[in-house]
């Protein structure tokens, strides 16, 4: 290491960047294809898939597909629905899951081992297998709203939020990261008489920047990208539909691929933006908490 010359260092740096760029290409090419295709008329889009032109904005380039896509479906509505549902769910999820995980890792109470095993076991249950029972269940559930007591959660936002708030993965994520936090800090705080909630809020949460960001990103992806089957069966009115159900609007017998690509590009924007924001928060949170362990 001591013998590294400046030349050598430059070469290493170049090699590092070359690796990074090569890997980046592997991850980018389908997405470039998607964005570029959204600018092309269908005929050209399909013809171009057989050459390098698939990745290049060449030929007859326009925003026509975007205009047509907006005519075809109420995209703004779908995106507002999805973003709203996602934000509410993610915030509640982070709160409830981190509280539960805190209790599993730092508190000692009878039954926690069993309960945690049960929670982890639910990771295995694919949603598809419980969709019908869950549908029958929520269609009868009571709710106290503005008009008093009512039964049935169909065609609402809450039916798209509440069943999704808590999931085993998020709890498990917090559990695994909390295990790495310094236990002495917590015990010290308890010795000084802090309540458990104070410990959670003042000590554990501020140290949990990375896992908070990770949990928020992963949960929001799940809520935004994977909400298809459930809204399909519990929401019949257009006003409550999320983006993935909206994708169906574009699959007519003659698929307008250009519009599909435009729609896909549009609905991906909020998620990418959210990731960028969270990434920044996540890095600054590491910088601020500094040393751990």
């Amino acid at each position: 290491m001591a013998l590294v010359t400046s030349d050598n260092r430059g070469l290493r740096l170049a090699a590092r960047y070359a690796t990074l760029i090569l890997v980046a290409l592997i991850f980018l090419f389908p997405l470039v294809f998607m964005v570029v295709s959204s600018l092309k008329p269908d005929q050209q889009l399909l013809a171009d898939t057989s050459s390098i032109r698939a990745f290049l904005p060449v030929g007859d380039i326009s925003l026509d597909n975007y205009y047509k896509a907006f005519d075809r479906a109420p995209i703004g509505l779908f995106m507002m629905n999805s973003v709203g549902i996602t934000i509410v769910t993610v915030v509640l999820s982070i709160l409830l899951c981190s509280l539960a995980a805190f209790s599993f890792v730092f508190l000692d109470w009878s039954g926690r081992g069993v309960l945690l095993s049960v929670i982890v076991a639910t990771l295995i249950i694919p949603f598809e297998t419980i969709a019908v029972p869950l549908l029958l269940f929520v269609s009868k559930l009571p709710w106290i709203g503005w008009e008093g007591l009512e039964f049935g959660w169909l065609n609402t936002y809450r039916v798209q939020v509440i069943p999704w708030i808590v999931d085993a993965l998020t709890i498990f994520l917090f559990v695994q990261f909390f295990k790495d936090l310094p236990r002495e800090l917590i015990e010290a705080a308890r010795v000084e008489g802090a309540s458990w909630f104070t410990v959670y809020r003042r000590i554990v949460m501020p140290l949990s920047g990375p896992v908070l960001a990770t949990a928020a990103i992963l949960k929001s992806l799940k809520m935004y990208n994977e909400q298809y089957l459930w809204p399909l069966i519990v929401v019949q009115d257009e006003a409550h539909r999320p983006v993935m159900v909206g994708l169906g609007y574009f699959f007519q017998l003659q698929i307008a691929w250009g519009e599909v690509m435009a729609y896909l590009t549009l609905i991906s924007v909020p998620v990418i933006a959210f990731y960028l924001v969270m990434q920044r928060a996540f890095i600054s949170s590491i910088a601020s908490t500094g040393v751990k362990g």
């Binding site: 399909l46 269609s139 399909l232 019949q236 909206g246 169906g248 007519q252």
Partner: protein, 422 residues
């Protein structure tokens, strides 16, 4: 959170207002056309006319994406949340009627006089659904291709025989001008398979189930005729005449237009786009299905309107359907999205299906060759089994074993459903 609540509130308020403003009884209609602007506009126009033309009923529509429409309806039925008027795909109707989602449609006889038979959905001796249109399938080709390859142009009266058809495929393949001789549309999974391909099986003399009582598929789907059909079907792919199940959906949409395929087995709904996109529209011809020995047949019955069992006002629903069945609307749908109007009179009012029109042949096909898919609640499952069997055979599975397995599965299903009420 705040915003979602506000939207929700606004929505509640607006529907409440709408309810107060009208003395008409509200009937909700579910439709499969979300995302299809032309279709939505025509339907919207019909509803507007209907709501304005009488005092009793106020129809409102909720549109769904087609690919998930059936799932939405089944889910709503399970949850007890069905609307009054339902749009239902013809072959699925018996299933919904049997399951109790639908009630008979109290429609007057004169409203459906002269309609194509396949546009009337009957189950258990009663009318459950009526359609404004039918769909038909034809063999898309170019006259120039036929001439070049020295092929006889088949007609409704004298369709190609199996030998002629295979000869045509061989000639197209041998010419070397095409990626594939025949485009069957294997990229379109789902209902396309039974709809488009079971008529071939019927033309061979087999069927998806034994229509005598609908209690078994034994003999129909694995008898001699079916085995012969299976071997033929497999040869289409083994000999390289047609692209297999991994066909690119984009090729399905544009392959014939671009000249990649000599022949394309496709529905009338794709005809308008094809005529608009090919270089020489006059060159395109729509040929009837070949006769494999038992006559030429094509599938029939498309989307139709029915009344859900949850509807308290079937007479209102029937009034709406009768209103919608006017020839001008049938013609409007046909002009708008290329479907075959349900009556001759309406056909004459359209651009494409009037005598001498570019698609008139489809009306005749529908009238002459249409054979509805098995009218049984069990069809929904049998169709899935049939689809899988065909794609397995296309991919090289043993014909006899595959058809036997399909028969077993269909029979098990019929038994599990206690004969489906036949």
């Amino acid at each position: 959170m705040q915003r979602t609540k506000l939207t929700l509130g606004a929505l509640v308020a607006s529907t409440a207002l709408a309810g107060m403003a009208s003395a008409q009884t509200e009937l909700t209609l579910w439709y499969h056309g979300a995302g299809n602007e032309v279709e939505s506009n025509i339907l919207g126009g019909i509803i507007e006319d209907f709501n304005g033309a009488q005092e009793d009923w106020q129809v409102t529509v909720e549109s769904f994406p087609q690919e998930s429409y059936n799932d939405s309806v089944v889910a709503s039925a399970l949850a007890g949340n069905l609307p009054c008027i339902l749009d239902v795909d013809g072959p699925v109707m018996p299933n919904w009627a049997w399951a109790g989602y639908l009630q008979p449609l109290p429609i007057s006889q004169e409203a459906i006089d002269g309609h194509l038979d396949a546009t009337i959905g009957r189950w258990d001796g009663e009318i459950y659904s009526v359609g404004l249109w039918d769909a038909a399938v034809a063999l898309y080709a170019r006259q120039s291709t036929l001439d070049e390859l020295g092929l006889r142009t088949p007609s409704l009266e004298e369709p190609w025989t199996k030998e002629e058809f295979m000869g045509a495929l061989e000639a197209a393949k041998a010419s070397g001008n095409y990626d594939f001789a025949l485009d069957l549309g294997t990229a379109w999974t789902g209902e396309w398979y039974p709809y488009a391909f079971s008529p071939f099986l019927q033309s061979f003399g087999g069927d998806i189930v034994d229509r005598d009582g609908y209690q078994t598929a034994e003999g129909a789907l694995n008898g001699e005729a079916a085995m012969e059909f299976g071997a033929w079907w497999q040869s289409l792919f083994a000999e390289g005449y047609a692209p297999g199940t991994s066909q690119d959906p984009a090729d399905r949409d544009s392959g014939f237009i671009e000249g990649k395929y000599a022949f394309s087995w496709n529905g009338n709904w794709a005809a308008a786009n094809t005529l608009a996109s090919v270089e020489n529209a006059d060159d395109v011809v729509f040929l009837p299905a070949p006769d494999f020995g038992n006559g030429s047949t094509i599938g029939a019955a498309s989307w139709q309107f029915g009344v859900s069992s949850a509807c308290e006002h079937p007479e209102g629903a029937a009034a709406f359907v009768e209103h919608a069945l006017q020839d001008e609307y049938l013609a409007a749908f046909s002009d708008g999205i290329g479907l075959i109007p349900a009556t001759k009179e309406a056909a004459q009012m359209t651009e494409s299906y009037a005598e001498g029109g570019p698609l008139a042949v489809f009306f005749d096909l529908s009238a002459e060759q249409a054979l509805v898919r098995p009218v049984s609640p069990g069809y929904v499952v049998a169709a899935k089994v049939f689809e899988k069997a065909l794609s397995d055979i296309a991919n090289g599975a043993d014909v006899a074993d595959t058809l036997d397995a399909a028969v077993d599965e269909i029979d098990d299903d019929i038994e599990a459903n206690q004969g489906y009420g036949h």
